[in-house]
Amino acid sequence: MSDWGMQKAALGQRLAAGQQHAKGKVVPIPSLPAFLKAVIRSGDRVCLEGDNQKQADILASALANLDPHDVHDLHMVQSGVVLPAHLDMFDKGIARRLDFSYSGPQSARIARMLFGGKIELGAVHTYLELFARYFIDLTPNVALIAAVSADKDGNLYTGPNTEDTPTVVEATSYKNGLVVAQVTEIVDKVPRVDIPGDLVHFVVEAGRPFYVEPLFTRDPAAITETQILTAMLAIKGIYAPYGVRRLNHGIGFNTAAIELLLPTYGEKLGLKGKVCTHFALNPHPTMIPAIEAGWVDQIHCFGSEVGMEDYVAARSDVFFTGPDGSLRSNRAFCQTAGLYACDMFIGSTLQIDLEGHSSTVTTSRIAGFGGAPNMGSDPRGRRHPSEPWLKAGAEAAPDADAALRRGRKLVVQIGETFGERNAPLFVERLDALELARKVDLDLAPVMVYSDDVTHIVTEEGIANLLLCRNKDEREQAIRGVAGYTDIGRARDSKLVEKLRARGVIRRPEDLGIDPLDADRRLLAARSIKDLMLASGGLYRPPSRFRNW
């Protein structure tokens, strides 16, 4: 007879060991190191909640300060590798293997540690993909999570930054794993129950809020005329003709420019109500003018954004909010929404090759993908029609039977031909390939594959790859918008002009756009202060963005 209750028994042992250091469910801060040593076993699979935005920072530093003789060889499965402590534990040997999605500020160090063999890399995932694996083959033994408050029974209030927490807890707690939460404070009654207490085993009162990064704040003062030009091209050349109502925006300055042009340039083009009505999107401060002007019906959020809490709470007609009034975000649901219920993803990238593959990896930085490859991919499981989806499908396969033809999601890469420090956006060969060779990866970390990307927008124009009929046309369409980069200057001018005549390439003048009209005065807000004023004082920018 086999024993079918081994995992429950193991959990019971962890609970008993942890109880030695707790009062009820509450672990006092001074006991945290001894508590973690008692409940975590070497070789455990651990989800240390590092999300795109919020961080279980108290638990992270406590874990990184353990003695590697006591706890070692952990397998970390977390979406965000953001804090120095997340990598310190690999340096010390507490952790060995890593499966993640996004590394933002740690991108250079993570690359060095991969080259140095300090980290054994599983894979770089998209968020939804990593969440999926939590339920199949990467289920955590222990989850160390972050919330705003807890009651003594362990009911958790996550506040606007719910993000990954429900997904992590679902996968861990229902599969006999241990869940430990750090909270700002313990209260008699939580404002709303985001995580039911019977799924949470221990709570640590941190006495201060968890760390959260204002990742989605773009200062309008830094938007350039060229970015405004790319935004005008996208609005008039893609949003308008396809009638894109349901979409996701990336976090770059080009899409921030689009957001700030909706109430001005978009209004002039008569597009209000016809485009940009439904979003899967974080509460971008640069969306405030468009929301205030009545452009947006609904926004579902992956997470929140620092300073936007009061504004979101006051606009519950647009955002998803709880009975307590504050935002309810959920990364897994919003990623699903971005994949299946949006007709367009538009975002920036660092490198695009001649086939149209794009990557944010350079040889010295592994930034991870976050959600871009998920949103920026054509969902083969989609079955509901919509105007933009059908139109894109028809452009890709004009001769196919319309009733049997798949639609296509619009996947748009937007950027200037030269990026920071004059680095060209277009390259012969992605740095990601060199990285894959150096670290011996089976797959090069490609953000958006060429067969998913439908349009590339630069200041030189729009390349519609759906209309390309062979590899050669595709290459020349890309060269044809690559400006003065080496790739752009090596174009076949005759073929590029033919593509332009067919509408595969559209220049500003083909769309009736004068580049000299790309003026900062077109922006509905030209500074962070303008955004605050547009919100009626509800948006409270973090101090680093206040320069007045």
Binding site: N422, G483, Y484, L516
Partner: protein, 105 residues
Amino acid sequence: METLSFRLSAPTRAGGTRMQAIVGVVASGNLEVLLERAAPADSCMIDITTAAHGFGAVWEAVVRDFVDRRPAGGLRISINDGGARPDTVALRLAQGVRKIEEPER
């Protein structure tokens, strides 16, 4: 600092009557462009002082496209560049030509 000079034939004469115009600022990633009506009507002279080295071929491509696409005949153009991207250079040149066409106020 690197200096570059181009003497180009310019098919279309710059419009307007202003004798000079200035656009942009000298700053990192930006440039200042001074346009003077001081060249033969069918040519354009461009002198560049740039902080970025080794971009001669890109500059040549940018200024050649400029005189092909914009009315630049009769202009002597002096550029003081702080490492601007080519798209910014093209935009400032176009802005300069528009400014010298404007009536004096």
